[in-house]
């Protein structure tokens, strides 16, 4: 098997199977948690739960990532704050607003959208990769993060890092033949897709649960979340 056939395999059948596992796995995780049951809260509310939810999303999505002093965590933990924020920004910019990725979405969803110019995506991706390296270093040195980091956390890091770095090298046509890098990029994406439902990378889905709960809990007490 040469690299061209391998590329066809990784971006064709393997990608489709991985995507199915990803979607099926996440659906399973979602249903599993939802079916565990939800006890209603009978305590009469003091404030509006809905207002709490609205405020917490506003803070969580818009203010928290961009105006660090709102939560005063910036002074205490600037590395996690900056590197964590930059990583997510670069990641979402690349997979949603990078032209090649948008085309993949278009082939899957049937519609596309405007994208960012390559140099901007490229710089954000580079920043994202640098942030990941900083985060790994931080996880290895900070005493609390060492306590919180097991094999699963390291594997999460690696399996996200590989698609990012192969994608970046590929865009710049460095070191290897294009088909080789493209195949490796697709292979790493496929592996990641299969891994996500088994790992904590699934937090992007449960974020909406915890954020909503946060808003409800603070809102019902009449406290700004």
């Amino acid at each position: 098997m040469n690299w061209t056939t391998f590329l066809h395999f990784t971006r064709g059948p393997l990608f489709q199977v991985s995507l199915l596992i990803f979607v099926g796995g996440m659906a399973y995780r979602l249903v599993r948690v939802v079916l565990l049951g939800w006890k209603g809260d009978k305590a009469p509310a003091k404030g509006s739960k809905l207002a709490g939810v609205a405020k917490t999303y506003l803070k969580g999505f818009l203010i928290f990532p961009f105006i660090p002093w709102v939560k005063r965590t910036f002074n205490r933990n600037p590395i996690m704050y900056l590197a964590g924020g930059l990583f997510h920004l670069g990641l979402f910019a690349a997979i949603l607003l990078g032209t090649p990725h948008m085309l993949v979405w278009k082939s899957l969803l049937g519609f596309g959208w405007p994208t960012l110019p390559l140099p901007i995506v490229d710089w954000l991706a580079a920043a994202s990769i640098a942030a990941m390296i900083a985060l790994l270093f931080y996880r290895r040195t900070n005493s609390l993060l060492k306590l919180l980091t097991g094999p699963a956390e390291t594997l999460n890091w690696l399996l996200v890092f590989l698609p990012m770095v192969t994608g970046y090298i590929m865009t710049h046509h460095l070191f290897f033949q294009y088909e080789v890098l493209f195949s490796l990029h697709m292979l790493s994406v496929d592996v990641l897709l299969i891994w996500i439902p088994l790992s904590r990378i699934s937090h992007f889905m449960f974020y909406f649960f915890s954020r909503t709960i946060h808003g409800v809990e603070f809102g019902k007490r009449g406290v700004t979340p």
């Binding site: 939800w38 939560k71 933990n77 406290v223």
Partner: protein, 419 residues
């Protein structure tokens, strides 16, 4: 020790509410930056995320594929007796369940409640610190963890009535408002009882104390035991319902308010006709409606700051009332600490911590953050609306030899009542 009982409790606690939040955690460790015990000591195990670890392990091992795989290949192990002992020291000694961590969590996880669930498991397994367990036992037998028996209660009330020359209705029939004191007030801050009485009398409230519902403190809630929490709540609520009062007022006690206002409804039936409120809310209501008049500027000398209690302000929502009152009593003297309101730093004595002798060193260490905060304001008086905080402040003041005046909000209001 009955580890299986802890495990069973964790499993029982784990509905979608708990599971979805455990699933959302990315183990970023940001919550540690909000925790006064972690900040004061730097002990990684005191990070809120680590306090919840036991619950997460139980959840994953029992409910998730990855948890079962981890267990099978030896990355994770069954929860052991040793784990329970360790976590007992993390969640009882080094946590006041103040829930500030939930405010800095990027995912917004309600860590305080999850830590309370860990306590529930440990309580079922009987791994509660000895001092706390003894206090619970005392409350079961004597009706109060601080030795406030029926006789002591009656004696103290009689003494307050005489010494402060104030009318204190007890077991008054037809009363609309039932006030339940905490034994901290009765035993340590009796002036607070007089203050409550003066304010309610001035407002023309048809109120009473009860000899049956006489202890608002709930050490079962500290412990995390549902059965003890319910037992102590019922002693108050059954009496309130039997008397047919419309309103139940919790005096300056934080966790008791948390238990009654937010938890009780989910443990027992409470009629809609019974309103449960905190004295801080009531003071705000009296001032706003003009039912009591205050001497403006009655405390306007020096600098006065307000300490926000985690269960009354951050978790109770009575954030504006103290400001409203202090802006009348101390328009020039009142200064805010930073951070304040819902983001305030906890005093370090709540959640039962002050009752655990072994926790003293870290309790004092955490209080140093508070000292720092107060010093930055230049205040010479610290006011609060929680007797547990007040106990911590009074004790901390002595321990660190601080030149502060500690005051309660109700007491200030009583002292500033216009004739």
């Amino acid at each position: 020790m009955q580890t299986q009982k802890a495990m069973n409790t964790f499993v029982k606690e784990t509905g979608g509410w708990v599971a979805s939040q455990l699933e959302a955690c990315t183990r970023c460790g940001m919550c540690a930056e909000a925790c006064h015990f972690y900040q004061a000591t730097g002990v990684p195990e005191y990070a809120p995320v680590w306090k919840v670890e036991l619950l997460r392990r139980a959840y994953e091992q029992r409910f998730t594929v990855s948890g079962k795989v981890k267990l099978a290949i030896g990355i994770d192990s069954e929860i052991s007796d040793e784990d329970l002992l360790n976590w007992s020291s993390y969640v009882y000694h080094a946590c006041t369940v103040c829930n500030k961590c939930s405010m800095v969590c990027p995912m917004g996880i309600d860590l305080g409640t999850l830590i309370h669930d860990v306590r529930s498991g440990l309580a079922e397994a009987g791994v509660v610190p000895a001092d706390l367990a003894a206090a619970v036992q005392k409350q079961i037998e004597e009706g109060s963890p601080l030795g406030m028996t029926d006789e002591v209660y009656a004696d103290r009330l009689e003494w307050v009535t005489d010494d402060w020359e104030v009318d204190i209705p007890i077991d008054k029939e037809g009363a609309e408002t039932l006030v339940v004191l905490s034994s901290i007030e009765v035993m340590k801050f009796p002036q607070n009882i007089a203050a409550v009485a003066e304010v309610l009398n001035a407002a023309g409230e048809n109120w009473t104390l009860s000899t049956k519902a006489r202890e608002v403190v709930n050490f079962g809630f500290y412990e995390g035991s549902h059965s003890h929490t319910t037992l102590f709540l019922k002693r108050i609520l059954d009496q309130a319902m039997a008397m047919g009062v419309k309103r139940l007022v919790v005096t300056e006690c934080g966790h008791a308010y948390d238990a009654l206002r937010w938890t009780a409804y989910n443990l027992m039936e409470i009629p809609d006709s019974l309103e449960i409120t905190h004295i801080t809310g009531l003071l705000g209501e009296y001032v706003s409606s003009g039912r009591i008049k205050l001497k403006a500027g009655a405390f306007n000398e020096g600098k006065i700051t307000f300490h926000d209690a985690c269960k009354i302000q951050r978790k109770g929502g009575h954030i504006n009332e103290p400001r409203q009152i202090l802006n009348i009593l101390s328009p020039d003297a009142f200064v805010e600490m930073t951070p304040n309101r819902e983001e305030a730093i906890c005093c370090g004595g709540g959640g039962g911590v002050i009752a655990i002798k072994d926790a003293d060193p870290i309790r004092y260490a955490a209080f140093e953050l508070k000292i720092d905060q107060v010093k930055k304001t230049g205040a010479d008086t610290v006011v609060m609306s929680c007797s547990n905080c007040r106990l911590q402040f009074t004790d901390g003041k002595e321990h660190f030899n601080l030149d502060w005046k500690i005051n309660g909000l109700t007491q200030m209001v009583a002292d500033a009542l216009a004739d």
